[in-house]
């Protein structure tokens, strides 16, 4: 069939080239991330609309504080760098350095989740609950816990995914054989970082 198309090439459309020639897995991850981004986008759009139309929405910057979350943002940026460094070392064939940087990335994610748990505990003690708070609109607490919680779940899943990637790199004898797997893992991890950039701006700074 393809030969026939080549012979009569002038009369037919050129054959499609795959979007991700490396693997279908990579395209699958992009499709998953696009769907997940719609989920986060819907939550943030809903948050924006609720906030814009509320008369007593508390000032998040004053209520939540940004010192800890700024440090958490910096931590996620650092973990994104260690993720790409792991991939870079893998492409050079250095399996042990790749595993080390993957472990740093997982550690960064685990610390992030720990800091988020600390932040939640602190805010709950101050009176911020999912169904009310002392500062104003009830939906302030609801949206805060749902959006940061949804993101925290993604980070937790990402840490497990990274641990899986470390074991895959360790098991495969040729480091380059796990490059594609680690690149797909990295796509997920950077997406989690990208979403936090948006959450940090919309829920803490604005």
């Amino acid at each position: 069939m393809s030969q026939a198309l080549t012979v009569h090439g002038a009369a037919v459309e050129p054959a499609e080239s795959p979007l991700t020639p490396e693997s279908w897995g990579k395209l699958g991850m992009w499709m998953f991330l696009a769907g997940d981004a719609v989920g986060f986008g819907t939550l943030l759009a809903g948050y924006g609309a609720m906030r814009a139309t509320s008369a007593d929405w508390p000032n998040p910057f004053e209520v939540l504080g940004i010192n800890l979350t700024a440090a958490m943002t910096f931590l996620l940026i650092c973990s994104s760098v260690t993720m790409v460094k792991a991939l870079e070392w893998l492409s050079r064939g250095d399996r042990s350095r790749a595993r080390m940087f993957l472990a740093f990335t997982a550690l960064g994610g685990a610390i992030f989740v720990g800091l988020q748990a600390y932040e939640w505990t602190h805010l709950i003690h101050r009176g911020l609950h999912i169904n009310g708070n002392p500062w104003g609109a009830t939906l302030f607490g609801t949206s805060f816990f749902i959006i940061t919680g949804f993101h925290g779940l993604h980070v937790s899943a990402g840490v497990l995914y990274l641990l899986w990637a470390i074991s895959v790199v360790a098991r495969r004898p040729d480091p380059r054989a796990s490059y594609n797997f680690v690149e797909i893992t990295g796509l997920y991890w950077h997406f989690v970082d990208l979403v936090w950039i948006m959450v940090f701006t919309f829920m803490y700074l604005l």
């Binding site: 991700t20 490396e22 981004a37 986060f40 690149e183």
Partner: protein, 108 residues
């Protein structure tokens, strides 16, 4: 991406770190909510674009993949405009009921 050279990741890291510091500084600027909000949204989109283009290697992928990645952003932006009229209607209804309530109680 496998066939491409890795970009300078440390440069991207420093851009992201500097943009984060600028974001935090913008919060303290006395320009008002609209100007500060616009600046913060612009900085967030810039940071997200850096992550997507260089860390996620979108710059080196097929353009169609980039369009797939940008579509959720367009949907979320449209959704804000879809939700706002409904939100304003609910807010107006709440205000009206608050105005009626004291008037009703003053008769007794």
């Amino acid at each position: 991406m496998a066939g491409h050279k890795h970009p300078n990741y440390m440069a991207i890291f420093w851009y992201l770190a500097i943009l984060t510091v600028i974001e935090i500084a913008v919060v303290f600027l006395p320009f008002g909510k609209i100007v500060n909000g616009t600046l913060l949204c612009g900085l967030a989109i810039g940071k997200a674009a850096l992550v997507a283009m260089y860390f996620m290697h979108l710059r080196f992928e097929a353009r169609t993949l980039g369009m797939i990645a940008v579509t959720p952003l367009a949907i979320a932006t449209l959704l804000v405009f879809v939700l706002l009229p409904d939100g304003f209607a609910v807010a107006k209804k709440t205000d009206d009921s608050k105005k009626v309530a004291p008037a009703a109680t003053s008769k007794h």
